[in-house]
C-alpha cells in the first residue's frame, strides 16, 4: 500500500476522483408539506390500466385518490393541471450497481465486486453513494427506485432497494437486504483466447463441479441456520432469510439447462422465493417456470441475439413471449453500464413494436418489477394507499421523443430534475446566448 501511494499516477487518479465526487448532486427534497392534486391527466397506473382524464391526489407521501377527474371530489392542496400530460408510477430498476460505481474505467470509483465466490454477507447498501451523479441522472427519465446489487462471483452478495433522492444511504433505503444474487454456472464458457484457445464458446467441463459447489453451499447454509450454531459463519448466516422466506434468491441464468438446474436446486434446498434473472432462453421452458411460479427479470431488450441463427428481434420480443406464456415478467439491465439504466423506459417501449400492449409494456418496469422485488404493497402502481412515487411527462414516457418529464415525486416529495448534465447544458447555452 505504501508503495502504491507513492505512485504518482495513483495520486493523480485520487485527486481527480476527489474533485469529481466533490461536485455534489441536487439537494434532496423535503418531506411533502401539503397535498398535491394532478387534474385532467392521463394516468398510466402500472397495473395494465389507464385512466384518461384522471385525477390523482396525494398527501403525506401517500396516494389518496386515483380516479376519473369527472368524480365530484374536492381538489386538495396544490393543483397541477394535467391536461395533455401523462402520469406514471416511478420506474423501478432491478439488479443494478448504481451508486456503487461512478466511472467504470476508474478503479478507485468502483465498489461493486468484492473478492470471493460465495459472499452473501457482503451488502450493497452501506456502499451506496446517494450523491452519485449517475444515480441523479436517472430521475429526469422517470427511474426513481433501484435495487442496488453487488456484482461478480458465484453468490455476489445481498442487495437493498433504494429510492433515488436521499442525503445518504440510510435515508435512501426502502427495503434493506431484500435479496441474494446467485450467478448460475454456465454449461459453455468463452474461449480464453489469450491462452491460445479459440474465441467463441466451448463446453464448460467444470459445470457439474461448479453446480456441486453451489449445492454444497446451500446445504451447509441450510443446516447452519437450523442449528443456531454459536460459532459465526457470516456467509451461511447471511442466507437465513432465504430459508425463512423473508428474502428472495435471484438466480442469473440464461440457457434452458442452466435455468432448470438452478431453479430445481434452489427449490430442492428449501428456498421459497426464487426469481430468474436474464432468462435469455426462458421462452423454451415457460411451462417449467409456470409450474414453479418463477417470475423472470428479463435482460434489457436493447441487446444483440446471442446466437447468429436467432431471430434478429429475439431480445426485443422476449418479454412478450414470456408474458404471453402467462409468466410474471419484469425488465432489468444488469449487464449494461449503470448510466444506461436511464434507458429503462425505452427497453419497455421496444417490446410494443413487437406487438405488446403499451400498458402491459409499462408494467414490465413498474407494477411487475415491484411485485417481483416484493414491494408491491407500497410501490409500482398508482393505487390509493401506496407511496406517491410518480412523475408527470409531457408525452409518452416509453418513447424517446415523448419522455419529457416535468415533475417527479418520491414518497410525495417534489424532487429536483436537475442534474450535473442539465447544469452543464444550461451553463453552455448561456455561454452561446439565445439563438
Amino acid at each position: 500500500m505504501k508503495n502504491t501511494m507513492k505512485n504518482p499516477i495513483y495520486g493523480f487518479v485520487l485527486a481527480l476522483v476527489t474533485f469529481f465526487m466533490g461536485t455534489a448532486q441536487q439537494t434532496p427534497a423535503p418531506k411533502q408539506q401539503e397535498a398535491i392534486s394532478i387534474d385532467g391527466v392521463t394516468a398510466h397506473l402500472g397495473n395494465g390500466k389507464v385512466i384518461e382524464n384522471a385525477l390523482i391526489m396525494f398527501e403525506d407521501g401517500k396516494l389518496t385518490f386515483v380516479g376519473n377527474a369527472m368524480t365530484k371530489i374536492a381538489r386538495r392542496g396544490t393543483v397541477i393541471k394535467g391536461k395533455g400530460r401523462h402520469v406514471y408510477p416511478g420506474f423501478i430498476a432491478p439488479n443494478k450497481s448504481l451508486g456503487l460505481v461512478e466511472v467504470d474505467a476508474v478503479r478507485a470509483t468502483s465498489d461493486q465486486d468484492e473478492i470471493g465466490e460465495m459472499i452473501p454477507h457482503v451488502r450493497s447498501l452501506i456502499a451506496y453513494n446517494a450523491e452519485s451523479q449517475v444515480v441523479e441522472s436517472m430521475r429526469p427519465n422517470g427511474i426513481l427506485i433501484g435495487q442496488i446489487t453487488p456484482q461478480g462471483g458465484r453468490i455476489s452478495g445481498t442487495s437493498s432497494i433504494v429510492q433515488f433522492d436521499a442525503w445518504n444511504w440510510e435515508d435512501a433505503a426502502v427495503k434493506v437486504d431484500d435479496g441474494i444474487h446467485l450467478n448460475w454456472p454456465n454449461t459453455f464458457r468463452k474461449g480464453r483466447w489469450w491462452m491460445g484457445e479459440p474465441r467463441g464458446y466451448q463446453p464448460n467441463k467444470k459445470y457439474a463441479e461448479q453446480l456441486k459447489e453451489v449445492e454444497t453451499f446451500l446445504q451447509h447454509a441450510a443446516a447452519y441456520n437450523k442449528s443456531g450454531s454459536t460459532q459465526l459463519n457470516p456467509a451461511f448466516a447471511a442466507m437465513k432469510g432465504l430459508y425463512d422466506g423473508s428474502q428472495k434468491l435471484y438466480i442469473k441464468a440464461d440457457g434452458e439447462k442452466e435455468i432448470i438446474d438452478g431453479i430445481t436446486m434452489a427449490k430442492e434446498n428449501g428456498i421459497e422465493q426464487v426469481v430468474l434473472v436474464g432468462g435469455y432462453h426462458a421462452f423454451k421452458v415457460t411451462d417449467f417456470l409456470k409450474k414453479h411460479n418463477i417470475p423472470v427479470l428479463v435482460q434489457r431488450t436493447h441487446s444483440l441475439p446471442t446466437f447468429d441463427d436467432e431471430d434478429y428481434d429475439l431480445p426485443y420480443k422476449l418479454p412478450k413471449l414470456l408474458t404471453d406464456a402467462g409468466l410474471l415478467v419484469g425488465l432489468q439491465n444488469g449487464d449494461a453500464a449503470n448510466f444506461q439504466t436511464r434507458n429503462l423506459p425505452f427497453y419497455a417501449g421496444q417490446v410494443v413494436a413487437q406487438g405488446m400492449d403499451k400498458e402491459q409494456a409499462l408494467q414490465l418496469i413498474t407494477g411487475n418489477n415491484a411485485q417481483i422485488l416484493g414491494m408491491q404493497d407500497s410501490y409500482g402502481t398508482l393505487e390509493v394507499g401506496k407511496s406517491a412515487t410518480l412523475f408527470i411527462a409531457d408525452g409518452d414516457a416509453l418513447d424517446m421523443k415523448g419522455n419529457q418529464i416535468t415533475k417527479a415525486f418520491i414518497d410525495g416529495r417534489d424532487i429536483s430534475l436537475e442534474t450535473h448534465q442539465t447544469e452543464l447544458w444550461k451553463r453552455y447555452k448561456g455561454k452561446y446566448g439565445p439563438k
Binding site: 467463441g200 448510466f339 424517446m400 419522455n403 453552455y428
Partner: protein
C-alpha cells in the same frame, strides 16, 4: 549387437553406393552398382493422364530410364514382376515443415509492448525475415519421413513456417537410405510469406491483419528503393528479398478471404503468388478463380459436431454445420471451376488421414485424375520441377508407389514407396492373403476356421458346431502357426502356406499329446464387407448462400423498379416531410417524387400509413471488420480498413433490419493517427469489394485522449502518455509529411512511404480526418494543429465535449458525430451530456448521431430521437442526424442520405414514425435492391430451423456410424468497439 552392426554396415554400403565419385573411400574398395531394376507387367501411371497397361518401368541409379509397354531390358537388370499391381508417381507436398522446426516462442512480460526490433542489420521489423533459409535449419527426420512415405509421399517442400516474410524453402526427397547430398533437391526452393507474425519476436507491429498487409506492401517498396542503391546502410533482409525474387513465391493465406488479400498485394507488385488456402474456397469460388493463382489446398475436413445434446447443439451455428457438410466438396468445386491446385498435408493431424479425406473428396465428386494431379504433377509444376518429379517420365526421379490397384479405392494396399530408386516396404508385396473360410479335418474331427481382418494382420476364429475355441494364430514369413483350446483341450499346428487356395496339410498335435495328420481346405475366399454401401451416390450437400451463413440469401438481391405508393416521405431535404407521396425507384435510383405517379412497369408497394426515409448512415462503425486497431505503432496511417472488410458479419443483416444502409468502417482509437476508413454499403451477400463505395471519398481515423495515451490498461512505454504528447505526435508527423512532399516534388529520388503519402493527402485536402475526441482541450488542440498546416479537420467523432467549444468548431468548419447519451464509462466522459448534439446543432454545426456499437447502430433512429428529448431538436432535424448529416460528413451526400430525385435508392420503409421506439423497418433497399424485408426474414427463420434440423440429423447419423465427432462450439467473432485490440 551383431544384427545392429550388420544393419549399420548395410546402411553404410547403400550410402556409399550413391556417394559422389570424388569422395575418398577408406573402409573398403570403391564399388558402384550400375544395375537396372525393371518393374514389369504393371499398370503404370506415368502421369495422371498417361497410363500404360501391362507396362514396364526401368530404373537405374535412382532415376527412370524408360517406361512403356515394350521396354528392352538390358542384361544387368533385376526384374520384379508386378502382375496385377499398379505404379503411381509418389506424392509431393509443397507446404511442409518437414525437418525444420518452428523457432521458440519469445518470452515476454505482460508489461508494455516492445516497439523496436530485436535485430541489427536487418529490416526494421522482426517479422520480415526473407534472409532465413530453411536449409540452415534443416535436419533430416527419418521418423517423420517414414510416416510421410507410408502416406505415399516421396518429396516434400519445406520451409520455416514462422513470420510474415519467411525466407527460402527446401525441396527434399524422403530418401531414408541416402544422405542430404541426395535428398536435398533444391536448397532455395521458393520464397515464403504469410500475414502472421513470428512467434520468436515480441515486436508489437503489426498487431492486425491490415497492419500485416501494409507491412508487406511497404517491404516491397523498400526493397525496390534498396535495390536502386538509395540506402547506404546494410539491410540483409531486403537484400535477401531481392535476391529471392526469381524464385517461386508462396503465400500462406489460410482462408478464402486472405487468398484474395494476398493476391491483391501480389498483383500490385507484379508477383503471382502460389497461395495456401483453407478449404473454404468453395464459398466464394468466383473471387477465388479471379485471382488466377495456383492454390495449395488442405484436406482438413471438419469432423461432425456431437449434437446429441440439444442444449449443446444450440451453440453450433448453421455456418459451422454447413461447413462440415459442404467442405468435402471443396476440391471438386475448385476442379470444376478450372482452378489449379495441389494438396497439402498441412492442417491434417496425421499424414495417415490423407487417404480417408481424399476418398471423401472423391465421393463428393472430385475426379480421380484431378486428385492424382494435385498430389503429383501440379505440385511439381508449381515448384518448377516438372522435369524431375511428379511423374515417371524418362530422366525423372524414381519416386513411385506400388499398389494393389486403384490407389483411391478403399481396401487398396500400398505395398512399396520407392524414393530415388530406394525401396521402402510399407506392406509386404509377397504377402499371401490367407483370409477366408476353411475346414480343418483331423482325426475324424472337423473344425471351422474363419480368418478375417486385414491381410497383413489376419484374425482367426475356430469353431466346432456351436462351440467356439479360444485361439491364437500368427502368420509370418509364410508360416502359419495356430493353437486353439477349450477346457484344457489344446490343439496345435504349423504349416507353410504358399497359396491358400490349395489344401494345406501337416500334423496336428492333439490334447492327448499325440499327433494326427490334418488337411485345411478353403471353402470360401475372404470378401471385404463394403461399409460404404450405406451411402449410395454423392452425399447430400446443402446449398451455399450469400454469404454462406444463416440469413444468407440463395441469390444476391437485384435492383427492381419499385413505386412506393402513398407514403409519408421523410426527405431529409428542405422539402421536409411529405404526406401521401409516391416515390419511384428505377435502375437503382430515385427517379421521381410526387403524388399519383405512374408506376409503369414498376412493382407497386402500398405504403399507406407507412413512412419512407433514406437509409440510415452510421458515421462511426466497427462492424463488418476482421480487425479494428493496428496498435503496433502510434501512427498507422498506412493501414486500410478496406483490407479487412468482413462481408459475412451477421450484424450487417441485423443493421439492415434496423434501417442502416451505409456506414463508415473506422479504424479504432488506439493511436493518435489511426488507419484509413472503408465506406460501405451494407449489400448483404456481396463481396467485401462490392460493399465498398465506388470512388470512395478518402477518410482516416485520428484519436485523442485516454485511448491513445493508453490510460486504461497497463502500458507505460509508448509515446504519448499525455495529451501534451499527443499534440507533438501530430506536429511531428505533419511536419515530416510536408518535408516529404517537398522532396517528392523536387524530382529527386525519394523513398515512397505509404504513411507519409497518406498524411500528404490530408495536408492537401484529399483525405479527411474523422477524429475520436472527448474533452475540449484536445479538440481545440487538433483544430489549431490543422490550422497551422492549413487544412481543416473534417469530423470530430464522439466529440462528447463538443458543446463546450461548439463556437470554435463552427469557426474552424468541422462537423460533429456524437453519441446520443453515453457517458460515465471513463474519466474523460464525466462531462459528456446528452444535450451535446442539440447545442452543437444550434451553433450551426453539421451534427450526426453515431453508434460505435453493433447493437446501437441497429436502432440509430431511436438514438436520433433522443435529441428531441435532450435539447428539443425538431423531428425533422433529428432525422437528418442519421441520414443527410452523416452523408455530408462523409462527402457522400451527392449520392445518399436523402430522398431526392437522382440519388441512390437507399430507402427504408417503416411501420411508424421512424423516430419512435415503436417503429419497425419493414423493407430496406440499397440501390433499388431489397436487402431486408420483414416477410423474407420470416421465411429465412423458418428455413434456418429446417436446415439446422436436417444437418443435426445428418450429424447424428454420422456419429451413429462411428465417425469421429468434435465437441459443439461456437466460433463467434468478437464484437468490436473503438478500443478493441
Amino acid at each position: 549387437m551383431k544384427m545392429k552392426l550388420l544393419a549399420l554396415t548395410l546402411l553404410w554400403c547403400s550410402a556409399t553406393l550413391l556417394a559422389q565419385d570424388y569422395f575418398p573411400e577408406n573402409e573398403g574398395v570403391k564399388s558402384k552398382n550400375n544395375n537396372y531394376t525393371a518393374f514389369t507387367n504393371a499398370k503404370i501411371y506415368v502421369t495422371p493422364t498417361q497410363v500404360v497397361e501391362q507396362g514396364t518401368l526401368l530404373i537405374q541409379n535412382g532415376k527412370v530410364v524408360q517406361v512403356g509397354s515394350s521396354v528392352t531390358l538390358p542384361k544387368n537388370t533385376v526384374t520384379i514382376d508386378l502382375k496385377g499391381k499398379t505404379i503411381y508417381p509418389s506424392f509431393i507436398d509443397i507446404y511442409s515443415d518437414f525437418g525444420v522446426s518452428k523457432p521458440k516462442k519469445a518470452e515476454g512480460s505482460r508489461r508494455s509492448p516492445q516497439y523496436n526490433p530485436t535485430r541489427e542489420g536487418f529490416y526494421w521489423n522482426d517479422h520480415i525475415m526473407p534472409e532465413k533459409n530453411a536449409i540452415n535449419a534443416f535436419k533430416y527426420d527419418e521418423k517423420k519421413a517414414k510416416e510421410l512415405r507410408n502416406a505415399g509421399f516421396g518429396v516434400v517442400n519445406s520451409h520455416i513456417q514462422d513470420g510474415i516474410a519467411r525466407g527460402t524453402g527446401i525441396l527434399i526427397a524422403l530418401n531414408g537410405k541416402g544422405d542430404d547430398s541426395q535428398r536435398v533437391l533444391d536448397d532455395r526452393s521458393g520464397q515464403y510469406f504469410s500475414f502472421t507474425k513470428s512467434i520468436a519476436s515480441r515486436q508489437s507491429y503489426p498487431t492486425s491483419l491490415m497492419g500485416a498487409m501494409a507491412l508487406v506492401r511497404q517491404m516491397y517498396t523498400d526493397a525496390d528503393w534498396y535495390a536502386k542503391g538509395n540506402v547506404d546502410t546494410k539491410d540483409r533482409s531486403l537484400e535477401a528479398l531481392n535476391a529471392n525474387k526469381g524464385l517461386v513465391q508462396i503465400f500462406a493465406a489460410g482462408d478464402k478471404g486472405n487468398i484474395v488479400r494476398a493476391d491483391g498485394i501480389g498483383d500490385a507488385n507484379g508477383i503471382q503468388y502460389t497461395i495456401l488456402g483453407g478449404g473454404d474456397e468453395y464459398e466464394t469460388i468466383a473471387d477465388i478463380k479471379n485471382t488466377n493463382a495456383r492454390l495449395i489446398i488442405p484436406l482438413n475436413f471438419p469432423d461432425a459436431f456431437d449434437v446429441s445434446d440439444p442444449n449443446q447443439a444450440m451453440y453450433v451455428a448453421l455456418e459451422d454445420m454447413r461447413h462440415w457438410n459442404q467442405a468435402p466438396a471443396n476440391p471438386k468445386i475448385l476442379a470444376e471451376n478450372g482452378v489449379t491446385f495441389s494438396f497439402t498435408l498441412n492442417g491434417l493431424k496425421s499424414p495417415s488421414k490423407l487417404m480417408d479425406n481424399l476418398r471423401k473428396a472423391i465421393t463428393y465428386g472430385l475426379p480421380k485424375t484431378k486428385a492424382l494431379e494435385a498430389l503429383t504433377t501440379v505440385p511439381a509444376q508449381i515448384m518448377g520441377r516438372s522435369d524431375k518429379i511428379g511423374s515417371l517420365q524418362q530422366g525423372h526421379l524414381a519416386n513411385f508407389l506400388i499398389t494393389s490397384g486403384d490407389i483411391f479405392a478403399k481396401g487398396t494396399t500400398l505395398y512399396e514407396n520407392w524414393v530415388q530408386g530406394t525401396k521402402n516396404v510399407i506392406t509386404d508385396l509377397d504377402l499371401i492373403d490367407i483370409r477366408g473360410e476353411y475346414d480343418l479335418k483331423s482325426a475324424g474331427e472337423t473344425f471351422a476356421l474363419s480368418i478375417s481382418g486385414k491381410a497383413e494382420k489376419p484374425k482367426i476364429k475356430v469353431t466346432k458346431d456351436t462351440v467356439t475355441y479360444s485361439s491364437k494364430m500368427t502368420f509370418k514369413d509364410e508360416w502359419l502357426l495356430l493353437s486353439f483350446s477349450k477346457d484344457d483341450q489344446l490343439y496345435r499346428l504349423s504349416t507353410l502356406v504358399k497359396d491358400s487356395s490349395i489344401p494345406l496339410t501337416g500334423s496336428l498335435s492333439l490334447p492327448n499329446g499325440k499327433e494326427a495328420p490334418f488337411t485345411i481346405t478353403r471353402n470360401k475366399p475372404f470378401a471385404e464387407k463394403d461399409k460404404e454401401k450405406v451411402a449410395v451416390g454423392t452425399p447430400e450437400i446443402v446449398p451455399v448462400t450469400f454469404p454462406n451463413i444463416g440469413y444468407g440469401y440463395s441469390e444476391i438481391p437485384k435492383p427492381e423498379n419499385i413505386l412506393f405508393r402513398n407514403a409519408t416521405v421523410w426527405t431529409s431535404e428542405e422539402a421536409g416531410i411529405l404526406e401521401n407521396t409516391d416515390v419511384l425507384v428505377k435502375d437503382g435510383k430515385i427517379v421521381k417524387i410526387g403524388k399519383g405517379l405512374n408506376a409503369g412497369r414498376a412493382k407497386v408497394i402500398d405504403a399507406t400509413d407507412k413512412h419512407l426515409t433514406a437509409g440510415i448512415i452510421d458515421e462511426h462503425s466497427h462492424l463488418a471488420a476482421l480487425a479494428i486497431n493496428e496498435a503496433g505503432q502510434n501512427s498507422s496511417a498506412e493501414v486500410k480498413m478496406e483490407d479487412v472488410v468482413d462481408p459475412e458479419d451477421i450484424d450487417i443483416y441485423r443493421n439492415l433490419a434496423g434501417g442502416v444502409t451505409s456506414l463508415q468502417l473506422l479504424h479504432g482509437s488506439a493511436n493518435p493517427i489511426g488507419g484509413r476508413s472503408a465506406l460501405l454499403k451494407l449489400k448483404w451477400g456481396e463481396s467485401a469489394q462490392n460493399m465498398i463505395y465506388d470512388n470512395s471519398p478518402k477518410f482516416i481515423k485520428f484519436a485523442l485522449g485516454e485511448n491513445v495515451k493508453q490510460s486504461n490498461w497497463q502500458s507505460f512505454s509508448r509515446f504519448p502518455q499525455t495529451r501534451m504528447g499527443v499534440e507533438q505526435v501530430f506536429m511531428n508527423y505533419f511536419q515530416r509529411a510536408k518535408e516529404y512532399e517537398v522532396k517528392k516534388k523536387s524530382g529527386k529520388p525519394y523513398r515512397h512511404d505509404e504513411e507519409m503519402e497518406t498524411l500528404v493527402e490530408i495536408l492537401n485536402g484529399e483525405r479527411f480526418i474523422s477524429c475520436h475526441s472527448y474533452v475540449q482541450s484536445e479538440i481545440n488542440m487538433l483544430m489549431k494543429v490543422a490550422e497551422k498546416f492549413n487544412f481543416k479537420v473534417n469530423t470530430f467523432t464522439h466529440i462528447l465535449e463538443g458543446y463546450k467549444v461548439a463556437d470554435k468548431m463552427a469557426e474552424h468548419g468541422v462537423g460533429a458525430s456524437t453519441f446520443s447519451d453515453w457517458w460515465a464509462y471513463k474519466y474523460e466522459v464525466k462531462d459528456a451530456i446528452p444535450y451535446n448534439a442539440a447545442i452543437m446543432q444550434n451553433q450551426g454545426l453539421t451534427v450526426a448521431i453515431n453508434s460505435d456499437d453493433a447493437e446501437m447502430s441497429r436502432r440509430l433512429n431511436q438514438e436520433a430521437a433522443k435529441t428531441i428529448k435532450y435539447g428539443g431538436v425538431s423531428e425533422l432535424e433529428a432525422w437528418k442526424m442519421v441520414t443527410i448529416n452523416p452523408a455530408k460528413l462523409l462527402h457522400i451526400d451527392e449520392r445518399v442520405g436523402s430522398i431526392k430525385e437522382g440519388k441512390d435508392a437507399d430507402l427504408v420503409l417503416w411501420s411508424d414514425n421512424p423516430l419512435s421506439v415503436y417503429a419497425k423497418a419493414e423493407k430496406t433497399l440499397i440501390e433499388g435492391a431489397t436487402y431486408f424485408d420483414l416477410e423474407k426474414d420470416k421465411l429465412q427463420r423458418e428455413s434456418i430451423s429446417v436446415e439446422r434440423n436436417k444437418l443435426i440429423g445428418m450429424m447424428l447419423k454420422e456419429k451413429e456410424s462411428g465417425a469421429k465427432t468434435q465437441a459443439p462450439r461456437n466460433t463467434k467473432k468478437e464484437k468490436f468497439h473503438c478500443d478493441s485490440l
